[in-house]
């Protein structure tokens, strides 16, 4: 019996101790008419060997194409040590550290993670993770609305330059809490969200402004101006940031004259494989003033009975298991194992290592964009400094080009027209530090071929 250790003797002895004849008797409080007759359709169990053969075949099927998609998930090198340690049983198979004394490993990791995230974002405090970047933004929006005592209405300015999936996720999650998400357009020449675009949202007060940096197009926003503008209107500022980019870019805590109030984003670039989109790791940081509105676990430092330093979950009164319906959020299980990976990743790379990774991605993506733009009809979509991603205008339908490239095992980018019809046909491309010059040349060649075919057709 896979995973069930009971011998026949055990079973007999245990039933005897309980005083029943057979295991099924233990289910006698379930009304008979409800007892499931069977599990028709569930296949028979397989041995580990058979499942391995099946899964190996399936994993092979998905191949390992050359990936030039970014769009919120980045193919970075992950030091081998990261997952070899993260998957140690003591991290992998532990629960949320409710019993602090038996969980110092996890708790100290959480505290270190929080320390690293505050260092990266320039804010005071960090929680110990949310599900992913998009749901973290949703929580940030809810948090900002709760936290803003000066502005009573629940309007939040949401630039269209924020990742479209993030905007959708925010919409799903906050829709029933009376929050109005006001879309702010971007400048179609630069791809930037200008103050003027924000002003177009009207004169009504708003609780918060979301600022993506870099934005979905890879374009760098004028974060200082936007932050000061929002703060002048008593709104809070929520930065949506890429943690690797933060190695080079001004941290939210430094934006404008006062700094952003909240920063959130996707931790995937900190040591998580692409893995079809998850598990990743949402992070959420804020100023000290907002800590009681912060959702999610927080590890804090304390002392034990002998005065030794230790760590424990703290401010639990914010959380559902204490506060129930009055909690800051319903979040319970979060992304602890990914936090462990991210913490190890950051400690191995350090600030300088992350900086080099960021610079390499930036340079590679620039090289890729330049190289593709040598092809007739391909040109930069926006005229503004960009980081990590580049939006390109195509002379042919993006979907066709992408499927042509895919047939050559090149994943050519994200089809911008799908989310921004006015930009069609356009592509969002990205080349992380893992893409070599040869990879970029291969892409360029395949793109030239694909466009030639499209042209001929």
């Amino acid at each position: 019996m896979p995973f069930i250790p009971h011998t026949d003797d055990d079973i007999a002895g245990m039933l005897d101790a309980i005083g029943v004849e057979r295991i099924d008797d233990l289910f006698d409080e379930i009304p008979t008419e409800l007892r499931a007759k069977g599990l028709e359709g569930i296949p028979d169990g397989l041995s580990e060997m058979e499942v391995a053969q099946l899964l190996q075949a399936r994993a092979r099927e998905d191949g390992q194409a050359l990936c030039f998609i970014g769009a919120g998930a980045y193919d970075h090198h992950i030091p081998a040590a990261v997952w070899q340690i993260t998957t140690r049983g003591e991290f992998y198979s532990a629960y949320t550290p409710y019993q602090a004394e038996a969980s110092q490993g996890t708790l100290q990791v959480l505290y270190e993670f929080q320390s690293m995230m505050t260092a990266l974002t320039g804010l005071d405090v960090s929680n110990a993770s949310l599900y992913d970047g998009a749901s973290a933004l949703a929580e940030a929006v809810l948090m900002a609305v709760r936290a803003n005592r000066k502005v009573k209405n629940a309007r939040v300015l949401m630039p269209r330059s924020v990742h479209p999936f993030y905007r959708r996720t925010v919409r799903s999650i906050v829709r029933h809490q009376g929050i109005e998400l006001v879309e702010v357009d971007f400048d179609h020449r630069t791809g930037q969200t200008r103050v003027a675009d924000c002003e177009a949202a009207g004169d009504e007060p708003f609780a918060a402004l979301v600022i993506p940096q870099p934005n979905f197009f890879g374009v760098l926003e004028d974060v200082d101006a936007l932050t000061d503008w929002a703060h002048a209107r008593d709104a809070l500022v929520i930065g949506v940031v890429n943690p690797v980019a933060l190695a080079l870019l001004s941290p939210p805590g430094d934006w404008g004259s006062e700094g952003a109030d909240i920063a959130c984003g996707e931790g995937q670039p900190l040591g998580m494989p692409l893995a079809s989109g998850g598990p990743y790791l949402g992070f959420l940081c804020c100023t000290q003033a907002q800590i009681r509105q912060l959702p999610g676990r927080i590890a804090g430092k304390t002392l034990d009975a002998d005065g030794k330093v230790g760590y424990t979950l703290t401010l639990q009164a914010r959380e559902q298991h204490i506060r129930r319906s009055k909690a800051t959020s319903n979040i319970c299980t979060n992304q602890g194992l990914l936090v462990t990976a991210a913490t190890i990743h950051m400690s191995i790379l350090g600030a300088e290592g992350l900086e080099r990774v960021a610079a390499a991605c930036h340079a590679n993506t620039s090289r890729l964009a330049d190289s593709l733009c040598e092809i007739n009809g391909v040109e930069p979509l926006f005229d503004a400094p960009a980081f990590h991603e580049r939006a390109l205008r195509l002379p042919a339908p993006a979907a066709n080009i992408l499927s042509d490239l895919a047939a050559n095992d090149i994943l050519g980018g994200f089809d911008l027209g799908r989310e921004y019809p006015e930009l069609d046909p356009a592509l969002l491309v990205c080349a992380t530090e893992l893409r070599t010059d040869a990879d970029i040349a291969a892409y360029r060649e395949a793109m030239a071929r694909a466009l030639a075919i499209a042209d001929a057709a």
Binding site: P5, A17, L26, D28, I30, L34, A36, E40, L54, A59, R60, D62, G63, A71, G72, A73, R88, G89, E90, Y95, Q99, A100, E101, A102, S103, T106, M116, A119, G122, Y131, F165, I173, H176, A247, S250, L274, A275, S276, G277, G278, P279, T302, D304, Q320, R323, K326, N330, C332, T333, N334, L337, T343, S347, A351, E352, G353, E355, A359, A360, H362
Partner: protein, 494 residues
């Protein structure tokens, strides 16, 4: 010692960063970081040693019996980890085209299907990232259902007082009011009180059955009838599915919507606090509202369903469709179990729980519901011990750690005083249960003879009992450099 405290400026003994720093001088100075982030600067060996040693300070399934009620801490098969980590799966970008995704989509599709069968629901979405997000998706679907029918007054969700905290919190996030439904003294929902509580304002009720008090609510059909007749829907909190897998199906009990914690019943790892996965299953009438993406079979191949295919969907729960790596692990586990194995899960989880309950009762401990069968878990109350010896549930819990056993869940559910919610799971051998009974018996003896000893526990762990109050009062939630370090300019692309 924190990793930060091992940091030395200029130390970076790893082979990790690119060997040269690429040019990034085109980034506008105003938007650049002025000072390096205070991340630790350590060697790879230091990092490896630090985190390896930290890991050793955790209790875990792989090292300890972990009878944490409501959490289903069972063996996480290692195959699930290695197979979900095959390069083909790890390398797939979430926005990869369907042509490069058929392998994983086949797994997801079959998982949807298996979850439909075991729960008796009509359709399943794998999107929610954990149980609580599944709950949110579930109650949002209830709301979408009523809204679609123009039934806008149904704004109240009933939640038993014993329910998990996420239940009321999720209902609130979906814009509902929460009303408590009391638990009767036998552990079942108080049906009379429920009848009084339902009405035209009732959007639904959130239940788990077996409930968090560890008994199967025998009136479930009456409850379903009561709520349905009042026009409400029934939500099933699937955290306790391990108790009934293959034995009774929420769909057959009358539930309209359910979430499942794959990190419980389907044995994906808890990871020190996640990641999990909280798929939702629904009856036919709720299907249009399922969160996206979904996987559909289309002839020989699979395709994603998104907003365009499902215009009434409550939408997207995360950017990229959920915790795929966890879904894969659950799929692998399910395939190893098969139908027979699934049935055995609930059978042996229940056998272990009832045996352990019986042995503890024989040892003199008081069950919260002595007349009832245990499901996969049960509650004992230490109120007697607390009164007589001044040794409370938390003291027992801490002392258990000294015996190498992780503590059961304490003080939840709140309605039972000084309670321990104990869930042994099916993967523990009888010897582990017997050992636990021995430890509990020993601790009671200590409570009687030397109560201070129990109250001072633990003794054998790296740390003694931690001061939670101090943690909250003298908040310190992030290390900060002693003095902001001398400004280290970041490289300017040189």
């Amino acid at each position: 010692m924190l990793i930060h405290e091992q940091s030395r400026p200029g130390r970076r003994a790893t082979a990790q960063a690119p060997l040269t720093t690429a040019d990034s001088s085109d980034l506008p100075t105003a938007l650049r970081r002025k000072q390096r982030a205070a991340l630790p600067e350590v060697s790879e060996l230091q990092a490896v040693r630090h985190y390896t040693r930290l890991s050793q300070q955790n209790f875990s399934i792989d090292t300890n019996f972990y009878p944490l009620g409501s959490c289903t801490m069972k063996y996480n098969p290692r195959a699930c980890n290695s197979l979900a980590s095959l390069p083909g799966f790890l390398a797939r970008h979430p926005a990869a085209p369907e042509s490069h995704s058929q392998g994983i989509m086949a797994c997801l599709y079959e998982l949807q299907d298996m979850l439909k069968i075991v729960t008796g629901m009509h359709a399943v979405s794998l999107a929610p990232a954990a149980g609580a997000q599944g709950e949110l998706a579930g109650v949002m679907m209830i709301r979408a259902y009523h809204d679609a029918r123009g039934d806008h007054e149904r704004r109240e969700i009933l939640v038993p007082d014993a329910a998990h905290g996420t239940n009321p919190a999720s209902a609130i996030m979906a814009g509902f009011k929460v009303r408590e439904a009391p638990t009767g003294s036998n552990g079942d929902v108080d049906i009379a009180a429920l009848r009084d509580a339902v009405g035209p304002q009732t959007a639904g009720i959130m239940l788990t059955n077996p409930s968090t008090v560890g008994v199967f609510d025998r009136n479930i059909q009456a409850i379903a009838e009561t709520v349905h007749e009042a026009g409400g829907l029934l939500y099933y909190d699937g955290a306790n599915l391990n108790a009934i897998l293959g034995k009774v199906r929420p769909g057959d009990m009358g539930f309209d919507v359910i979430h499942m914690n794959l990190h419980k019943t389907f044995s994906t790892p808890h990871g020190g606090g996640g990641p999990g996965a909280g798929p939702v299953g629904v009856s036919k009438r709720l299907e249009p509202y399922l969160p996206i993406p979904l996987v559909e079979q289309d002839g020989d191949s699979y395709r994603w369903l998104d907003e365009d295919d499902r215009p009434e969907t409550i939408g997207r729960m995360t950017a990229f469709g959920g915790n795929m790596g966890i879904l894969l692990r659950a799929y692998i586990y399910a395939r190893m179990l098969g139908a027979e194995g699934m049935r055995r899960v609930s059978e042996f989880a229940t056998l272990n729980a009832n045996y352990l309950l019986k042995r503890l009762q024989e040892a003199g401990f008081q069950a919260a519901y002595p007349e009832r069968r245990a499901s996969h878990e049960f509650i004992i109350t230490l109120k007697q011990e607390a009164k007589t010896y001044g040794v409370n549930a938390m003291d027992f819990a801490k002392r258990l750690l000294d015996f190498g056993y992780h503590a059961p869940t304490t003080y939840f559910p709140l309605l039972v005083p000084e309670c321990l919610l104990i869930e042994p799971t099916e993967t523990e051998p009888k010897e582990a249960l017997d050992g636990f009974v021995e430890a509990m018996t020993q601790i009671r003896k200590e409570a009687e003879e030397t109560p201070e000893k129990v109250k001072g526990a633990p003794y054998t762990l790296p740390l003694r009992r931690l001061d939670d109050v101090r943690a909250a009062r003298q908040l310190d939630v992030a290390w900060k450099p002693a003095s902001q370090p001398a400004s280290q300019p970041t490289s300017q692309g040189a």
